[in-house]
């Protein structure tokens, strides 16, 4: 006759007591756990030559130290070391039950799962694949129906087999690099307490300490490890850690569940049902992408006629001023400088306002919050919070309101990260540069080239986010919280007002800074007195020549260097500046560019890449400084952008040069 001891654990109301009664029949003993008024039930059963003692632990949801039940349950498992822990799992409620499983598994004891109430789950139309569940958890799973006594023999056999298996295989959950590093540090500190280390698994102690478990901290108190443990703990926010670690446990569970269970859906309100569709596991992201396609389709097509009209009006006005005002320098100042410069910005108003109108519509309808919810997963993997995606979208219109939109992100690091990668989202001001260059040098593939640039911008944003996360802004994304507004049919008035609040930011912020910038550009291109506007002898030309060696490896000459400097004020100015520098209007610029032997097709591609990535415009820099509260980050953003732009333009230009015959 061999003896083994089984502890029954599980959530409350999972049929644990029924199963216990069915197992042990009348051979039960009821008492109290020492020191607490929690009922202790033990019973005995013989099976296949084994005398088995069954201990019914109190029902708990987790093994933290929040209640006496939880402390009793875990102390028993840790200190009395039963041969096997059998967790009774409610098959109709797998998520919450498996959460406890992850915690018990961490205690490092042999385990068996009794999938109880399996009949009820089946009656509800759920199907659970036991073999796969067992495979994923690396824990034997037995189907039981306590009320009818089904599966008891199989359960006992599995328990006996598991008790005999040694050494026991440990199951742990990976908590992510950051947390794991802290766990390792804590475990190392704890290993100096030999008495403690002999009684408890070090990793488990470390995990509990990180979760702010007072009960475990008490165990450490008085031991030699206390000082080091406390200094490690004081350096972290245990609240955040606890939430983050719980998230990781759920992540592990939710990765398994859909593969082992097909759940049935029960009746819901229309709004909840709509949530089911737009947050659907498979269709959620495709629906989101399709809606984004619609958004950009509308933005670019509907804006086109308005842009045509504005362009015509600005052109007419500039010509009128140039032709009718004396003296010539004033006409140049007003025509080339103010009207030309401001006009270059105003042309994008339709684009920006239509994009913002559609985003306002989606936001007011309640959809955008759901989109943030479904994007939380993929963005989280990139080190960005789910909410970062709204600023990213707005960034396709203009980075200024986009950076201001990051205010809804709570974590300071999360927000800073979102701000820093935002300028890589290709704003609409960059589009005319692409249209000119791609249209001129790649007329057949212009659409694909422009698409490639947008994708490149997103890729650089993602890569930068990853890079910053692992270097200057280390840490995990804060736990996700976001209000889900009720679905509504947006009214035209509210959406228009919403659009205006973002769009006017562009006008005010960009308008004032760009006006000043335009004046500076005009002055640089016009002085010293007497030079031809924007010629090599002007200050602008001198600066261009000065900088030429820096950009020469990219295949750019001094004219491009000057245009890029002007583009610092607003990127669309690059086009106008090239027009001035080549001494043509914007209409004939295309042929002038093609005729220039100094600018190859590969260099044009490099130039587009450079314009996409190099330093945010003045308005964006101003808003970065305002939102981060320091020039440091604004300066960093400029420097980082320049370096990335130079490197990628070099790589893209020279790779393209291989196919297109030299840069």
């Amino acid at each position: 006759m061999r003896e083994i001891r089984i502890a029954l654990t599980g959530n409350p109301n999972v049929g644990k007591t029924t199963l216990f009664n069915a197992l042990t029949g009348s051979r039960q003993h009821v008492g109290n756990w020492p020191g607490v008024t929690v009922e202790k039930k033990t019973g005995r059963v013989s099976h296949n030559g084994y005398e088995i003692e069954v201990v019914d632990l109190p029902g708990t949801y987790s093994l933290t130290a929040y209640s006496a039940d939880e402390v009793v349950a875990r102390d028993y498992i840790l200190e009395e070391r039963p041969d096997v822990v059998v967790q009774v799992v409610d098959a109709t409620n797998l998520e919450r039950n498996l959460y406890l499983t992850t915690q018990v598994a961490e205690l490092g004891v042999p385990m068996v799962i009794a999938l109880n109430m399996a009949d009820m789950a089946e009656a509800q139309g759920d199907t659970i694949d036991l073999a796969r569940l067992s495979e994923f958890l690396e824990i034997p799973v037995v189907r039981t129906v306590g009320t009818r006594g089904e599966g008891l023999d199989t359960l006992l056999e599995a328990a006996i087999k598991e008790a005999a298996t040694s050494p026991h295989h440990e199951h742990t959950i990976g908590y992510g690099d950051d947390v794991e590093a802290t766990i390792a540090m804590l475990a190392d500190a704890l290993s100096t307490d030999i008495d403690l280390a002999r009684r408890y698994p070090l990793r488990w102690l470390a995990v509990k300490l990180l979760e702010g478990d007072e009960n475990v901290l008490d165990k450490v108190r008085g031991g030699p490890a206390l000082a080091r443990v406390e200094s490690i703990l004081s350096s972290i926010d245990s609240d955040e850690y606890e939430a983050m670690m719980a998230d990781k446990r759920y992540e592990a569970i939710s990765a398994i569940l859909p593969q082992v269970r097909k759940a049935n859906v029960r009746n819901m309100s229309p709004s909840d049902m709509l949530d089911r569709v737009v947050t659907d596991r498979y269709l959620g992201i495709p629906i989101f992408l399709a809606l984004m396609w619609g958004t950009f389709q509308l933005t670019f097509t509907v804006a086109a006629p308005f842009m045509t009209m504005i362009e015509a009006a600005v052109g007419w006005l500039a010509e009128f001023v140039a032709g009718s005002i004396e003296p010539a320098w004033l006409a140049s100042f007003l025509g080339d400088g103010i009207i030309g410069g401001v006009g270059a910005v105003v042309v994008f108003l339709p684009n920006i306002f239509i994009l913002f109108l559609i985003l306002a519509f989606l936001e007011d309808s309640g959809y955008l919050a759901r989109a943030a919810f479904i994007m939380d997963r993929p963005l989280y993997a990139l080190g960005l919070p789910g909410k970062a995606f709204i600023p990213m979208l707005v960034g396709f219109g203009c980075n200024v309101p986009a950076i201001m939109a990051t205010r809804s992100i709570e974590g300071e690091k999360d927000r800073l990260l979102t701000i820093l990668v935002n300028p890589f989202m290709s704003c609409s001001a960059r589009l005319p540069v692409y249209i000119l260059l791609a249209g001129t040098f790649f007329p057949e593939q212009a659409g694909s080239v422009v698409f490639f640039l947008y994708v490149l911008g997103i890729a650089v944003a993602i890569a930068s986010a990853k890079l910053f996360r692992s270097t200057i802004l280390p840490g995990e994304v804060s736990p996700f919280v976001m209000e889900m507004p009720p679905y509504r049919i947006p009214t035209a008035i509210t959406s228009l007002r919403h659009m205006w609040s973002r769009g006017s930011m562009y006008i005010r912020k960009a308008g004032s800074i760009i006006l000043i910038g335009v004046l500076v550009v005009w002055a640089l291109a016009s002085f010293p007195l007497g030079v031809e506007y924007g010629s090599a002898e002007s200050f602008a030309g001198m600066i261009g020549h000065l900088l030429e060696p820096l950009v020469a490896p990219l295949g750019f000459d001094w004219k491009v260097a000057v245009a890029l400097i002007f583009g610092f004020i607003a990127k669309e100015i690059v086009v106008g500046s090239l027009g001035v520098l080549y001494g043509t209007g914007e209409e004939t610029l295309s042929s002038a560019l093609l005729a220039d032997p100094g600018l190859s097709a590969a260099a044009a591609l490099a130039l587009m890449v450079f314009v996409l990535l190099y330093t945010p415009c003045v308005a964006a820099i101003g808003v970065i400084r305002q939102e981060t509260g320091s020039w440091k980050w604004a300066g960093f953003s400029v420097a980082y952008g320049l370096v990335v732009a130079w490197l990628l333009a070099f790589v893209v230009g020279h790779s393209a040069g291989l196919f297109l015959g030299g840069i």
Binding site: L283, L289, G294, Q297, L298, T301, V302, P305, T308, I489
Partner: protein
């Protein structure tokens, strides 16, 4: 409309959108398909993707109804909204392109025939579904 009618409707529109989307992408990849010239396929792969998504939503709705998963045809209803929504997007986009062509004075690359794009004419079927029960669904939604 009964659930059976919605099932048939969802399955039919799902099939239409999926086929149209697949053809679009095919045309974009391999070029014009002989024998299909009569069909107005623009060959825009992204529009093809959108049609696949709408089709998948309809198909999922039909499947759920067939299985009686107790979702009250929600996927079909969303499919209707998407179908009508993208139809409107296409209509606006094409009208704007026409206006732009008119302003530029040429009208090159734009014709009335271009108005017959799959996203647009398939939306007519979507609009029928919208009139049949989609409005009621939308009202129920904002009331909730």
């Amino acid at each position: 409309m009964s659930d059976t009618a919605k099932l048939v409707y969802g399955a039919a529109l799902g099939a239409l959108y999926l086929v149209a989307g697949a053809l679009h992408i095919l045309v974009a990849v391999v070029g014009p398909i002989p024998g299909l010239d009569a069909l107005p396929l623009t060959g825009d792969p992204l529009a093809g993707f959108v049609m696949l998504v709408v089709g998948a939503v309809f198909a999922a709705g039909a499947r759920n109804l067939a299985r009686d998963a107790g979702e009250d045809a929600i996927f079909v209803s969303v499919g209707v909204l998407l179908s009508v929504g993208f139809g409107l997007v296409e209509l606006l986009a094409l009208s704007a392109a026409g206006l732009d062509a008119y302003l530029l004075g040429g009208g090159a690359g734009w014709s009335v025939a271009g108005l017959v794009s799959p996203l647009l004419y398939l939306a007519v079927f979507g609009a029928a579904g919208y009139l049949a029960w989609g409005r009621k669904f939308l009202r129920g939604l904002s009331a909730a």
